[in-house]
Assembly symmetry: C2
Homo-oligomer: 92 residues x 2
């Protein structure tokens, strides 16, 4: 799996990310990773669930990792934010 199979979740509507994930699988990916930080984490879970329940029934969350990342805040200070990685895979 290459890094190309990673979808980063931002502030766009969930359906945009859902379609990006579906495209990756349709182009032959065996696994797609959904990554998000902070408040976008909920949207990452929504994306994975909409893909699985409405678009690609054979896809499932193979692994889910959570972590903490340090980012530079507005004033140059370091801010800790939570992150999630959802590894979606095709059932074989």
């Amino acid at each position: 799996m290459t890094e190309d199979n990673t979808i980063y979740i931002g502030n766009k509507p969930v359906i945009n990310y859902v379609l990006a994930v579906v495209s990756q699988f349709n182009e032959g990916a065996d696994e797609v990773v959904i990554k998000a930080r902070g408040r976008a984490i909920s949207r990452a879970v929504d994306t994975a669930e909409v893909v699985r329940t409405r678009f690609l029934q054979g896809v499932y969350p193979k692994e889910i990792k959570i972590g903490t990342e340090e980012l530079e805040g507005h004033k140059g200070d370091m801010v800790k934010v939570s992150s999630i990685e959802i590894f979606l895979a095709k059932e074989k």
Copy 2:
């Protein structure tokens, strides 16, 4: 493990849930489950990460499950929301 070891994440500050999780472990629980739905999912991950990184270093996310639940909306209609369950366990 009994259902008593489950912490449901709502709209309160993260620290409230962090302290609830820490209390469960301090009272002897081997595992604590953090559950959330919808936008509270990000707060559930924050809770798990703050517990692990600042309070109880020997605790880790043993398993993370995501799913979709159907709830009754304001007008009696059914609404689908994403959910998360984070199983925190003590390292042995």
